[in-house]
């Protein structure tokens, strides 16, 4: 299954959009733990794209492509911003940053997906989650 979207989203519209995508993934993934991980990574990536990439500009789109098979889920999200230095993101888990109010999105995505890559100077993210664990549980 391949899903493609290019909505003009505002940050507050992200949770509902995420919910809609997750409902379409149900045939491929029923395990609640896996769905939690996917939801968190998808929501954080979309918020980053809309809020920091597109700077909450309602005229800008986010391009979302989702490929789901029995084995894995591949999510690509591209915004219309300038990108960011994804190799130079401060660790939110260091003692100095533990009380910081922002900077956890990229870290959460990395930890809750199996593979994360950035393209186009950071304006595009590709995230992969294996669904095999889910299939074993059915």
């Amino acid at each position: 299954m391949i899903l493609e979207y290019s909505p003009k989203l505002l940050p507050e519209e992200v949770p509902e959009f995420t919910k809609d995508i997750l409902s379409k993934l149900k045939p491929f993934c029923t395990d609640s733990d896996l769905l939690f991980d996917i939801k968190l990574a998808l929501e954080e990536a979309l918020i980053n794209a809309v809020k920091y990439g597109n700077k909450s500009d309602k005229e800008k789109c986010v391009f979302v492509k989702i490929e789901a098979t029995d084995q894995e889920l591949v999510i690509e999200i591209k915004d219309q911003g300038q990108g960011f230095d994804f190799n130079n993101v401060a660790s939110p888990t260091s003692q100095d940053n533990l009380e910081k109010l922002s900077g956890r999105g990229v870290f959460l995505i990395k930890n809750f997906m199996d593979k994360v890559e950035y393209f186009d100077k950071g304006s595009k993210i590709r995230m992969v989650k294996s669904l095999i664990q889910d299939k074993k549980l059915i």
Partner: protein, 110 residues
């Protein structure tokens, strides 16, 4: 999301029901700000009915932690579902917050 508070002697138990995300965090922040207005110095946040938290929810909790620290107050968190607890652990915020298995153990010695 629903927030309900229960007074137990000098402690307030705040039970949250529902997801804590970008859209619900502002309401949670308002509920937490009310604690400051009422000068409440001992708070237990019960997470039993919280199935999901994102980075904005974590930030809202850190704000409360910082406010409590400023007034020399005490904050404890309890009954955190496994997946949500995992988010605290991955982000190392379990080192910042005192997390207890249930309300009873959170109330002990509080």
């Amino acid at each position: 999301m629903k927030v309900s508070n229960l007074k137990k002697s000098d402690c307030t138990i705040c039970s949250i029901e529902g997801e804590i995300n970008l859209n619900t965090s502002p309401d949670l922040r308002k509920a937490f700000e009310e604690f400051s207005r009422q000068n409440i110095k001992k708070i237990i946040i019960d997470f039993e009915q919280v199935p999901y938290i994102d980075s904005s929810g974590l930030a809202t909790l850190i704000e409360l932690f910082q406010r409590m620290k400023k007034i020399d107050g005490k904050l404890r968190i309890c009954s955190v579902p496994e997946k949500v607890k995992n988010v605290f652990e991955v982000t190392k915020l379990h080192k910042l917050f005192e997390i207890y298995d249930d309300q009873e153990s959170a109330l002990e010695g509080f």
